[in-house]
């Protein structure tokens, strides 16, 4: 099967799933009588509707090719960074490093990926961003909580720019026998991460009894984690035909993606709750912000990239 044919099959499958989800929402809406039941169904409908939009954007992005994919992910990083900074208390003296993060580091990272230079894009933010952000901050002459303020900016750029940029960086991997098909790897990553989130939510709503992390992420349950995680890992194995992996390799790799995604979800949830918020933002109806959708991706993308780069190139 050619690349395009595989893409069409995967997107076709997603559209079938979303149609089922939309129908389920409509049927559940008729049966919901209690106040909280109705609120849950309304949120479910909003989530599904937002998924239709996100899938449409993704399909158009893939159809338009690698450059557009990079630009779209640069905007994803931009919106995620915007949300992160909005929730993080900054001082007027952080103005200069904030400008640096938004208008130099962010575009710089994506330009380095466009130039297919792994050696530079892998160290640009962890080394040079890490050192430059606090260095530039000193110019304002404000030492109040300097270490805390530096750490906030470093975390913001690491998660929202560096980690997320590993997703489109998959496009530059040259895997023998898989040339020109790297877009499918990106699709595979996004599919597994998001499916894992969705199935954990579904299993949690259906069978959830035991809270997994009541303080950090109150909606996560052990039943949801196990049910959603196992199902997603299996689906990841069955989807091996769009990847360069065998069934067992794909199963193992999707397990790693799911695990990293869960850790990402927990970490970023702890972070936003520590900042006093329930959601990162308001951009995506029913989901919250961009970062509420990308939290798992930010952890899974670099791990997946390195696994593939180490074992398959």
């Amino acid at each position: 099967m050619a690349l395009q044919e595989k893409m069409i099959w995967v997107f076709g499958g997603v559209i079938v799933l979303l149609t089922i989800a939309s129908l389920a929402g409509a049927i559940l809406g008729k049966g919901a009588h209690s106040e909280s039941g109705r609120a849950t169904v309304e949120n479910l409908k909003a989530r599904v509707n937002a998924w239709w939009v996100m899938i449409a954007v993704l399909a158009v992005t893939f159809a338009l090719g690698e450059t557009v994919t990079l630009v779209v992910f640069a905007f994803v990083s931009f919106f995620a960074l915007r949300e992160f900074i909005t929730l993080t208390p900054t001082r007027p003296s952080d103005y200069l490093p904030l400008l640096l993060a938004f208008f130099v580091i962010l575009p710089g990272q994506y330009l380095l990926i466009a130039h297919q230079n792994y050696g530079t894009f892998a160290i640009f933010i962890p080394v040079y961003g890490f050192l430059l952000l606090p260095a530039v901050a000193t110019f304002a002459g404000d030492t109040h909580e300097f270490l805390e303020r530096s750490a906030k900016l470093q975390w913001a750029t690491m998660i929202t720019v560096y980690c997320i940029s590993y997703a489109p960086a998959l496009l530059l991997l040259k895997i023998p026998g898989y040339e020109g098909s790297s877009a499918l790897l990106l699709l595979y990553l996004l599919l597994i991460v998001q499916l894992s989130d969705v199935l954990q939510y579904v299993f949690g709503k259906l069978f959830g009894r035991t809270k997994l992390a009541p303080v950090v992420s109150p909606s996560k349950t052990v039943e949801g984690l196990v049910g959603g995680g196992v199902t997603t890992t299996l689906i990841g194995g069955l989807l091996h035909w769009i990847t360069p992996f065998t069934f067992w390799q794909a199963t193992a790799i999707s397990f790693v993606i799911v695990a990293a995604g869960v850790l990402g979800g927990l970490t970023l949830s702890a972070m936003k709750r520590g900042l006093g918020a329930k959601d990162w933002g308001v951009m995506i109806e029913g989901h919250g912000g961009m970062l509420d959708r990308m939290d798992s991706v930010s952890f899974a993308a670099p791990v997946f990239f390195h696994v593939v780069r180490f074992f398959f190139t």
Partner: protein, 204 residues
């Protein structure tokens, strides 16, 4: 609306979000005077971008002539935002500085004003100047809608040129009116209180 106006609101939304929150009223095309806290030069564009297009067509921001009166800024203010310019410095002591606003209200149009008269640095507004009171007495039928702009004082601190991207909500509160026996001071303080109330529990 001009294509350049769409470009301006598009850039504003990209930089600061400007997500509308109609908390106390609906986006209706009745004559209104929107009054908001003022912390940065993008406040005007942010409120304007938060309004639906049909309301933008009948709503005019009020901008200071000494800042927005010349060059590119004048083009942005008068052509893109269709703003009314107000003479803060009162270069002609006999002229009523509110005259251009009154003219606009007489045409049935709506206004966006910043009653503090200048940009503050904190999350909650400072004391209001009396312009809002005078407009309220002369146009009792216009709805006075309090507006709170969140976060913009962080996005563009005084003296800065390029805004830091930040998600900002534009909160529209319940319309208020001047009471029959209310003094100017009491009214202005009540109006300021309405904006502060929309701020919720933000840190000052």
């Amino acid at each position: 609306m001009r294509p350049s106006s769409f470009l301006l609101t598009g850039v504003a939304k990209l930089l600061v979000g400007a997500f509308p929150r109609w908390m106390g009223c609906a986006p209706e095309a009745t004559q209104r005077i929107y009054f908001a806290n003022h912390t940065s030069h993008i406040d005007t564009v942010a409120i304007w971008a938060a309004l639906p297009i049909r309301l933008r067509n009948i709503t005019h921001p009020v901008a200071a002539k000494d800042y927005w009166g010349g060059g590119v800024r004048r083009y942005i203010a008068t052509k893109m935002l269709r703003a009314v310019l107000i003479d803060r410095s009162r270069s002609d002591p006999n002229a009523n500085p509110l005259a251009p606003l009154i003219e606009m209200l007489q045409l049935g149009e709506s206004l966006i004003i910043f009653p503090e008269g200048t940009r503050g640095a904190s999350a909650v507004p400072g004391p209001f100047k009396s312009g809002l009171y005078h407009l309220a007495t002369q146009f009792p039928s216009a709805q006075l809608v309090p507006v709170y702009l969140e976060n913009l004082h962080r996005s563009l601190p005084k003296g800065a040129i390029l805004p830091i991207p930040m998600t900002c909500t534009v909160r529209f509160g319940a319309p208020m009116a001047l009471s029959a026996d209310e003094t100017k001071e009491a009214f202005l303080e009540r109006a300021r209180g309405e904006v502060v109330r929309l701020a919720g529990n933000v840190k000052a």
